[in-house]
Each structure stands twice: as structure tokens, then as C-alpha cells.
């Protein structure tokens, strides 16, 4: 991708300025005050959930998956559903309980401090929800999310996964500039009444446990950026089967699945996004598609950062606990000054990590695709309106094609290129910084704990295994670094190319 300014002066055409990194200050007056209370309510809920559900299961589930890779923690899903966690953050207009989506981040941090794998079973579901919502197809979003609510109300856990990564294409699909060159294979062929899908997806978080799958595929696999198709596929559809479960190093509670599509017919009513739907938006299919895949990482990457922060905290807590109990050379380890220096760093990393992802959280409320929900008037109106009102009077409107068209147009147009650039860069920065800090903390903690830190029964080694995945999924940290450079730095550097052949190494 080329920075837009044509002249190659080699100097910034404007100071970097670090603009847009004071979202928290903006949020003070622009976001509804009520969300502050939601943050605390979410934290309190997470702490109780940790004590009663997550902590007693965490080590056991990890071990069970190590012993039998086919084991799926359905008991946990059932419990999470009993606690209402799969519908709590679904907007009221789609039948959910409508807790503000920003409070999901501190919730995820808290649960991840007890087990990132189990937390990710909840996080992966809301990743699916976010992707579905980002399609701006109100009809299918409403139908799928109401199905999720209905099933969960009946006591049958119903979650959504995101099916995107392919055996030969991972990170390059996530970054818009790389998508044109990605070796994708999963093809959706237009046919009467829908699409026929062939191909496979891998590393799909919570795939085997999910009922709905947001499938991103392509009409022309040689032109993926121009032909993005997003489909809602339900488990049990003919032609769709589950393949193997990956044998992962960590986050074992959250199964990583292979999804196989063999002449899988997906009807038009399950098409969330395709070229036809965006034809009248006044932008090309490529622009619309790339905008779509640019929009949701800005919301989902702070989620990865929140999980990272949870792990960074847990590593700090594990090290402190150990140092207080362990005696070395006749005195408690924690009373050695060199140990106190390490612990101070561990604490610093956890606190810094939280500050960074909270900044992105505020930005999501102000600038991302969910910002409409945080418009004060809409927020408070939604808060006081009972759910049945949405079901009876608002939900039927979503079936009208014009509603989705207007909503999509509004959402796409309201998100200015500047906001999009800022959010994409900030999402990347948050994701790679916090996941790096999580890994750093796990390494420091294990160093401090010596061999005891490597024992499964003491829990710290699991943090280390779990943390590594955070540097890989939702785009490797390296690609996210380049994305940050592209969106926040190259933007003001005339002639600087990013993700280009010229940036390759010399033989």
C-alpha cells in the first residue's frame, strides 16, 4: 500500500503529532457516564464467575485436553450460559441483555487472569458477534442473534465463531493491503438462491463448540479483495463438517478447529455481505470489502489486549505469591532486593498494559463501528426501553432491505478514512503491545520461580503457554507493527511504501 501523498520528499509532510492518543480525555465528556458503572458491574460479575466457575475448572480442563485432544469443555459452556454470558453483551435491539460492549473488555481481562483459554471461549463468541454486526446486515444479524438468545434461554449454549484463517492464508487475509496477494482457497460460487461453498478453514477458535459460524470466503479466489463474501453458516448445514482439532501449546480449553465445506449450499437469507449488497453504496466492492475487514479488528483487537492484560496480571500475582512463600538462603525470596526490582517490573507491565487497552476501549466507543451505541441519546433511550419493545416494534423493521442499506451506508460514511486509519493503527498498537507485555511478564515470572515455575500444578507455566498465542492470532504482531507504521506514520511520509515488494530483503 502506498502512502497517499505523491511527492517523495522523504520528510514527513506534517508532524506525527501523536494525535488521537488522548481518547480517554475525549471520552470523559463524550461517552455516557453510565458506562462507568457498567465497568464495575462487569468486573464484579467476572470475579464471582472466576471464583465459582473458572478457577475450579482451569487446570483440570487444561490437563484433560493434554490427555485427550478431542475433549471439549461443554460443562464450562453450560455454566457460562447459565450465568448469561453469551447474551449479556448482545444489544437489546437484537434480543440481548444489552450491557454496553465496552465493559466486555475489563470482563475479559478479569476472566483471563484466571484462565485465558476458558475466557477465550467467551471472547471468540463476541468476536463472531462483532463480525456479524460489522456486516451491517440488520436482517441476518437480528435473526442470528435472536436465535443465539433463544437457544441460550432454553439452556442450550449457542455461540458464534469467526471462520477466516485458511491453511495457506492467515495473517495476509487480516490485513487489507495483503489480501490481494493471499493464497486463499475457500470459494463461494453464486448459484440460484444462494452460494455453494468449497474449501476449508483452520485454527477457528471455538469452532467445534459453536452453533453459528461467520464464514469469510471469496467469489474469486484469485481476486479475494474484490470478491469478499460473508456468510452465516449453521452447524448441521449440508456440506459443512468439522475436521480435526489442532494440538495447541496453550489456551487448550478453547478448541482450534478445522471447518470443511464441500458443496455447502448457503441460502441468500444467510448472506451477510457480498458484492451485490454493496452495489448501491457508491463505492467499489473492493472498497466496501476492505472497509469491512478493517472495521472489526479495531473493536476485537482491544479484546486480545484485555486477555493479554489478564495474563500479565496473573503472572505478576503468581510471582508475588511464590516469592512470599519461597525461602532462599534462609530468607523469603520476596525480601531479596533483586526480586523486588523484578516484581516492580511485573506490576508496571500489567498496569501499563491495562492503560493501553483502555485507551483503545475509549477510542472504540468514540470512533469505531459501535460508536452509534454510545451516542448519549441512543444509549440512554436504549437503556430505558424494555426489550419487548424492540422485539415487537423494532425487530420487524430489520427485515426491510432498505433498513440495512441505510444503516450500512450511514456506518460506512460516518467512519471517515481518518477515523478508520486511527482505529486500525490503534487496534494494532494495542494488540502487539499488550501481548508482548504478557509474554514478557510470563518470562519474568518463570525466571523468578525457577523450576517450580515450570510445574503444571503451580499454574505459572500455563500462563506462559497461553500467552504465546496472543502474539500470533488476530494478525501476527509483526504484521500489526507494520500496520501501525502504515496507518499512523507512513501516512504523513510522502513516498514511503508499506507491504511492498521493495521492502523485501536483498539476497
Amino acid at each position: 500500500m502506498q502512502a497517499p501523498t505523491p511527492e517523495a520528499t522523504g520528510h514527513p509532510r506534517a508532524p506525527l503529532g501523536f494525535t488521537g492518543t488522548l481518547n480517554s480525555i475525549e471520552a470523559m465528556h463524550r461517552l455516557p457516564v453510565w458506562i462507568r458503572g457498567d465497568f464495575y458491574r462487569a468486573l464484579e460479575l467476572a470475579r464471582r464467575f472466576n471464583d465459582l466457575v473458572v478457577k475450579p475448572m482451569s487446570g483440570e480442563v487444561d490437563l484433560k485436553v493434554m490427555e485427550d485432544n478431542d475433549y471439549l469443555p461443554r460443562d464450562f459452556l453450560k455454566k457460562a450460559n447459565e450465568w448469561g454470558l453469551f447474551t449479556l453483551w448482545i444489544p437489546k435491539m437484537y434480543g440481548g441483555k444489552g450491557m454496553n460492549m465496552l465493559s466486555l473488555y475489563p470482563f475479559m481481562e478479569e476472566v483471563s487472569s484466571a484462565c485465558a483459554g476458558l475466557a477465550n471461549l467467551i471472547g471468540a463468541h463476541y468476536l463472531g458477534v462483532s463480525v456479524l454486526c460489522s456486516s451491517c446486515n440488520m436482517d441476518i444479524t437480528n435473526r442470528v442473534l435472536r436465535d443465539v438468545v433463544k437457544e441460550n434461554d432454553r439452556g442450550r449454549p449457542c455461540t458464534i465463531s469467526l471462520a477466516w484463517t485458511e491453511p495457506d492464508a492467515g495473517t495476509d487475509q487480516v490485513q487489507a493491503p495483503l489480501l490481494p496477494g493471499a493464497k486463499v482457497r475457500t470459494q463461494a460460487t453464486k448459484t440460484a438462491g444462494g452460494y455453494v461453498v468449497n474449501g476449508s478453514k483452520v485454527f477457528i477458535s471455538s469452532g467445534h463448540l459453536s452453533t453459528w459460524h461467520m464464514l469469510i470466503c471469496y467469489e474469486d479466489v484469485l481476486k479475494p479483495a474484490d470478491t469478499i463474501v460473508m456468510l452465516a453458516v449453521k452447524t448441521g448445514m449440508r456440506g459443512f463438517t468439522f475436521g480435526h482439532k489442532e494440538r495447541k501449546m496453550g489456551q487448550k480449553a478453547c478448541v482450534a478447529s478445522e471447518l470443511i465445506f464441500e458443496d455447502c449450499f448457503v441460502p441468500d437469507e444467510n448472506v451477510c455481505f457480498d458484492r451485490e449488497q454493496v452495489r448501491r453504496l457508491g463505492i467499489t466492492a473492493r472498497q466496501a470489502g476492505l472497509k469491512l475487514i478493517d472495521m472489526f479488528p479495531a473493536v476485537t483487537q482491544p479484546g486480545v489486549a484485555a486477555i493479554s492484560t489478564g495474563i500479565a496480571r496473573a503472572a505478576c500475582e503468581a510471582a508475588v505469591r511464590y516469592a512470599a512463600e519461597k525461602k532462599v538462603a534462609g530468607k523469603a525470596l520476596i525480601n531479596h532486593e533483586w526480586v523486588q526490582l523484578v516484581i516492580a517490573d511485573l506490576y508496571r507491565n500489567a498496569v501499563s498494559s491495562r492503560a493501553i487497552y483502555m485507551e483503545a476501549t475509549y477510542a472504540a466507543g468514540l470512533l469505531s463501528m459501535i460508536r452509534l451505541l454510545f451516542n448519549k441519546a441512543i444509549f440512554y433511550l436504549t437503556l430505558v426501553t424494555p426489550g419487548w419493545f424492540f422485539t415487537l416494534f423494532v425487530s420487524p423493521l430489520f427485515r426491510l432491505g432498505i433498513v440495512s442499506h441505510v444503516y450500512r451506508k450511514m456506518n460506512f460514511e460516518m467512519t471517515s478514512p481518518e477515523d478508520e486509519r486511527h482505529m486500525s493503527g490503534l487496534g494494532s498498537l494495542t494488540k502487539f503491545t499488550c501481548s508482548d507485555l504478557a509474554m514478557l511478564n510470563c518470562s519474568l515470572a518463570l525466571d523468578l520461580m525457577g523450576a517450580d515455575g515450570t510445574r503444571h500444578d503451580l499454574g505459572a507455566e500455563k500462563l506462559f503457554r497461553d500467552a504465546k498465542l496472543l502474539q500470533i492470532y488476530e494478525g501476527t504482531n509483526e504484521v500489526n507493527r507494520i500496520n501501525l507504521f502504515s496507518r499512523h506514520i507512513a501516512q504523513v511520509m510522502p513516498g514511503v511504501g508499506v507491504f511492498e515488494q521493495g521492502s523485501g530483503g536483498e539476497r
Partner: protein, 378 residues
């Protein structure tokens, strides 16, 4: 450290390294993951093959029927084996470390019983708390005169399940110094836990052991445990460093091969300069580690802190580099690096485990600077 590699004929050293490499490929490569938890394959078979190949008696004194080779030869062997399976290298290292304690403590010409037990003909390697150092491990209490009896807890005894005998520390109640003992793990009063699941090097299974008035053979002089440990540590640190180096080399090879064949974002991975930089970092870390290890062999002739210090420092430094390099090794493979279908995630876990060999890193650092300061005062 007594390094005599320079005295050994280069061809002979090379032949020994080739032997280790061919053993690793022939006996270990195909079933690396099966020797890991949940242990589809018992490592005993591979240990038996190692014993037959003479790899268990590399540092066993010649008077006791061993090869009697020095630490540098052992290090070469360990690096080649750990490039394939650091767990197996951990088994050989554990046994060799226990032998070094015995060797430092026992008069070789005057202890036929120990000679018989450790000669390797018994078929089982020695168990040892290879991840602990003085000051951090619990010491069982020693009672009795003439016949010593040990009681107490011994956490994380590597090979404790497989071995017939273990080299363990013990101290008399109220005593300031500790000693080393040889314990028969088949005796009444020895209680072993199930294998402790560790982060890495899982083929080298460890158990927690409870001793209840178990008779034990004192090794060397009573109260000299610290001195024997330091001797062992000085000789085995090069081996610990070599394990870390081998893990790094394995990780680099796999990352390089992957970068050559993986297509990402419109070109092969190796064509991205960011990827090349990551590979370059790994390569530099490996070359620096090789220099460090080679330097241990000549340090006695010129290094600032002497040969022993060099090996200790090399182990600390190289194990740190290995942790960083293997994490990048996973990163270079992306999602595939995180999966057990490739070797990278295991190497990352193994590198972290290898960092604990011979004790907690922080304490080894403090001990290292303590020695330097003592020397400076003198």
C-alpha cells in the same frame, strides 16, 4: 573447568559428534512427541539405546568402565541431541550431572560399591535434582551414625521414576552444611509421586519423592556438598549451555526451512525483510552462543574470570538467548508454530525448561557475582 577438547584429536571429537547426531536422528526423531506427556511412549527404550551407544558413560571415569571424556565432548553430544529432542538430552544431562557429583566426591580407586552402581551396566541412569541448586532446594534430614538415614521431601527429582538410584542432598538437623548421598529408590520408605508435568523436556520425567528413614550411602566427606556441587556445576554448565544451543539450532533450522516454502501476502516468507531480520537475530544468537561455548574451552588461558566462571556465565547467557530465539522460532511459523505438528512450540517450552538446569537463574547470577567479588577482595 577442566576442558581438554584441544588435546583431543579433532577427528575423534567430530566422530563422537557424528555418533550423537546419528543417534538422535535414528533413535529419537520419529517419536519426539510420543515421549512427551501423556507419554504414549516410555523413554526407557531410547535410554537403553543411548546406553548401548555409550552415551550414558561419556563422562564416567575410565577406571569405572566409562569413556572418561571431558565436559566439552559431553557438551557437543548434548547440543546435537537437543537439536532433535531436548528431553532426551535432559536425561543424559541428569545422569551425567549425578556422575559428576560422585566423581567429585568419591575416591575412584577406593569405592567398589559406587563403581558397580554407576558403571552403567546396571541398565538404569541415575536420578538427580537437576533443576535445583544449593539454597533453593529442600534438604532431607539425615539421622544415624555409620548408616545414614534420610527423611524428608525431594521435589522434582529428574529420572526419579526410571532410575534405580538417586544422588540426593541431605543435612543433619541444625547443621549448616549439606552432604550428598546415594539412595536406592527401590527401598521401603521411598514414596514417589506420579510424574510431575513440567513445561518442557518432558521425556526427562521428574517425580516428587518422600523419604522416610531411608538408608543412604554418603558420597565423599560429610559437609562438603557445596564444594562438590560447585565442581559439578563448573563442569556441567557447558552441557547446560549446549542443550540451550542445540534447541536454538533446531528452531532456526525449522524456521529457515519454513520461510523458504511458506507463501504469505503475495511472496515467500523469506522475501520479507522483516522475516529476514528475525532469522538474522536467531542466527546471530546462535553464532554468539557457539562463540561463548567455544570460549569456555580457552577461557582458562585468558578470560577475565577464569574457565569456571566462563561456563557459568555461558549457561546463563545462552539459555536466555535460547528463550528469546525459540519464541521467535514459533513466531516465524505463525499459527503453525504454535501447533504440535511442528517442533517449534516444543523447543520454546524446552528452552524455558533448560534455563532452570542447575538452579534458579537469579540465584546463579548472585552466586556468580559473589564469586567474582570474593576474588576481588582477595
Amino acid at each position: 573447568m577442566r576442558i581438554e577438547a584441544h588435546a583431543m584429536h579433532n577427528g575423534e571429537l567430530e566422530a563422537f559428534n557424528d555418533l550423537a547426531e546419528s543417534f538422535a536422528k535414528k533413535e529419537l526423531l520419529a517419536h519426539v512427541h510420543e515421549r512427551e506427556f501423556p507419554y504414549a511412549l516410555d523413554a526407557a527404550e531410547a535410554v537403553e539405546a543411548a546406553r548401548k551407544a555409550g552415551l550414558l558413560s561419556v563422562n564416567l571415569p575410565e577406571e569405572w568402565g566409562g569413556t572418561g571424556l571431558d565436559a566439552s565432548v559431553l557438551a557437543g553430544m548434548l547440543s546435537r541431541i537437543s537439536a532433535v529432542d531436548a528431553g532426551m538430552a535432559g536425561i543424559l544431562f541428569t545422569h551425567a550431572a549425578a556422575l559428576e557429583i560422585i566423581s567429585a566426591a568419591v575416591d575412584r580407586g577406593d569405592c567398589a560399591e559406587v563403581c558397580r552402581l554407576v558403571s552403567g551396566r546396571e541398565g538404569s541412569p541415575l536420578a538427580f535434582q537437576v533443576y535445583g541448586g544449593p539454597g533453593e532446594i529442600e534438604l532431607p534430614a539425615v539421622a544415624g551414625e555409620g548408616v545414614n538415614q534420610l527423611s524428608g521431601r525431594l521435589p522434582l527429582v529428574a529420572l526419579g521414576r526410571m532410575a534405580r538410584h538417586a544422588v540426593v542432598p541431605g543435612a543433619r538437623p541444625g547443621g549448616e552444611k549439606f552432604s550428598w548421598y546415594l539412595v536406592d529408590l527401590s527401598l521401603d520408605g521411598v514414596k514417589k509421586s506420579d510424574p510431575v508435568l513440567t513445561l518442557g523436556m518432558q521425556a526427562c520425567q521428574a517425580v516428587d519423592i518422600e523419604l522416610d528413614a531411608v538408608p543412604a550411602l554418603l558420597l565423599g566427606a560429610e559437609g562438603q556438598g557445596g564444594a562438590y556441587f560447585r565442581t559439578m556445576q563448573a563442569r556441567m554448565s557447558a552441557g547446560a549451555a549446549a542443550i540451550s544451543l542445540g534447541i536454538m539450532e533446531g528452531s532456526f533450522r525449522e524456521a529457515l526451512a519454513y520461510a523458504r516454502q511458506r507463501w504469505q501476502g503475495g511472496r515467500y516468507l523469506e522475501e520479507w525483510s522483516g522475516v529476514r531480520m528475525m532469522l538474522a537475530r536467531m542466527a546471530v544468537q546462535i553464532e554468539v552462543s557457539r562463540c561463548c561455548l567455544a570460549g569456555c574451552g580457552i577461557a582458562g588461558n585468558g578470560a577475565a574470570f577464569g574457565g569456571e566462571g566462563s561456563a557459568l556465565a555461558a549457561a546463563l547467557h545462552i539459555s536466555e538467548l535460547a528463550c528469546a530465539a525459540t519464541s521467535e522460532g514459533v513466531q516465524l511459523l505463525g499459527g503453525n508454530g504454535y501447533m504440535k505438528d511442528y517442533g517449534q512450540e516444543k523447543r520454546m517450552r524446552d528452552a524455558r525448561q533448560a534455563r532452570c538446569l542447575l538452579g534458579m537463574g537469579g540465584l546463579r547470577m548472585m552466586s556468580f557475582i559473589g564469586t567474582i567479588m570474593e576474588e576481588a577482595r582477595a
